[in-house]
Symmetry: C2
Subunit: 303 residues, 2 copies
């Protein structure tokens, strides 16, 4: 079976993926877009593409293509490619190791915000020895925006530590009502037309004073100027940001040096080639056997 | 019933404790050492003392004293008072809120070390956008030194997140063998003659290269010069330190500014007056009723 591996992977990542995929699916023959363009393989022979944010146009001219399998959980950049072939099913990655990593990152951020550990780190830099009040987890309500695989995993992990967790999904109750009861907001929504810019001045105003934001979704969920204004005003205590409107975050952006911002370089949860290759192999075998494909994207909902 | 409340509490803390204790034990009459010294209360009427690292000598001259109840879990400073009356039972504090707080702090530190979040925070300060490899929790073995209430709670919480946890107690297997298999060491031992200075150059050498230390026990468990040498040599990757040989940590100490050290001001787990007052009340009522007292210190073991 002839397969295309396409994406913004560096050479080492590409080899790690190729090795993991070859181990999980020995019957696969893997080709790159460069192989097709140079005539080393026949584009008409490619039945599935395994992609990691491929450059726009990567999936054109593949008449036999029957599945686009993403290696990443978020498909917003993939769907933004205007040349993406219509009618070909797209599957997101749901990798158990990535889901666990997301729950770890969310838990780390929530523990740090709840217990004031970012403030203690600042005091260390300032040379100040001073404790602050300690509250129990059950006194710190957390809102988790997004109820997909990752949102649910995060909500479950936080609830298991004793936090009162309110999960929210777009077609549920009013967002403002959920935010009004939350001290920490963890965003894990998919990026769609309906969720873009959802975390704006109005949303921040709905939060109680002293609340914090953990953005593990997409940078474009947040109106950056509104977030900076809420942090500068002290209405928001802190933001932990893994994702940004432009990535890498440009040098000189205020987030880099803002004392109330803790940044990760889009590292909250990486797909683990070892477990993800097995997920890819299962879907490719389901395709071969005419069985149901897992984690298909609804293009009308964009996730 | 006449009770002494003594300790290094500031006025606000003293009032918070007095209010919580009065609510939990309405039959108690609370006095300070100052009250006794000024003749406002009869020292011979005091049947129990509730103490938080009281100044040495605070418990002298109390002929009816039948219980010394500590508000703190660690009693090493209390036991170091040469004037401490012999033969009076001493009870440690085992506060469920404090135990939960300790598990939260240990989990935050282990998550940060496992996932490299301290390194990401350093990269933010350096303006560097770069991810590092991500491992699963089951690939990061953790040793928990100390198997008391807090050591067990920490070990259970970490194991629930998927970390392979090895608990160690002083009279168990050889420490070096446990350290050799650990990537993260969490210290929750009591401070005794047998554990003082246990974390020295030999212990650090037993750890694999790149291991990290989380000290939530006592500063005197660590030979500071050995720890700094192991960090400077890069053999240890990072240390999270809540406790210090001298507290507050003196200005100018290298821990304040060491890039591989994250400090807390002895804030990993504070006793919560709300739940701890109930623990005190239970022990004082057991004393009155001639029932068994909880969490008694074995003076020969010093914890």
């Amino acid at each position: 079976v002839n397969l295309l591996l396409a994406g913004d992977l560096d050479a080492a990542e590409r080899e790690r993926w190729r090795a993991a995929l070859a181990a999980a699916l020995p019957e696969g023959r893997w080709w790159t877009r460069d192989d097709l363009d140079r005539g080393r393989a026949d584009p008409a022979a490619i039945v599935a593409a395994v992609v990691a944010n491929p450059p726009p146009g990567s999936l054109q001219g593949l008449p036999s293509l029957r599945l686009i399998q993403s290696l990443w959980a978020g498909v917003d950049r993939l769907l933004a490619d205007p040349t993406l072939p219509n009618g070909v099913p797209i599957a997101r990655m749901v990798d158990p190791a990535m889901t666990a990593a997301m729950a770890e990152t969310a838990l780390w951020a929530v523990l740090a915000l709840h217990r004031g550990f970012f403030a203690y780190q600042q005091r260390q830099r300032d040379g100040v020895w001073r404790t602050h009040a300690q509250r129990r987890a059950d006194e710190v309500p957390v809102a988790v925006l997004g109820q997909g695989e990752m949102g649910r995993a995060v909500a479950d992990r936080l609830a298991a530590q004793g936090y009162p967790v309110h999960g929210w999904r777009r077609d549920g109750t009013a967002l403002a009502a959920v935010l009004a009861r939350a001290e920490i907001v963890v965003n894990l929504l998919p990026l769609t037309l309906a969720t873009r810019g959802l975390l704006d001045a109005r949303a921040f105003a709905a939060l109680p004073a002293g609340a914090s934001l953990v953005n593990l979704g997409r940078g474009a969920h947040v109106i950056d100027s509104d977030l900076l204004a809420a942090l500068d005003a002290g209405h928001l205590r802190h933001a932990v940001l893994d994702v940004f409107t432009t990535e890498p975050l440009p040098a000189g952006h205020r987030y880099w040096t803002h004392p109330r911002v803790t940044m990760l370089p889009h590292a909250a949860a990486l797909t683990d080639p070892r477990s993800a290759a097995a997920v890819v192999a299962r879907n490719l075998r389901a395709l071969r056997d005419g069985k149901a494909l897992a984690y298909l994207v609804d293009r009308s909902r964009a996730y």
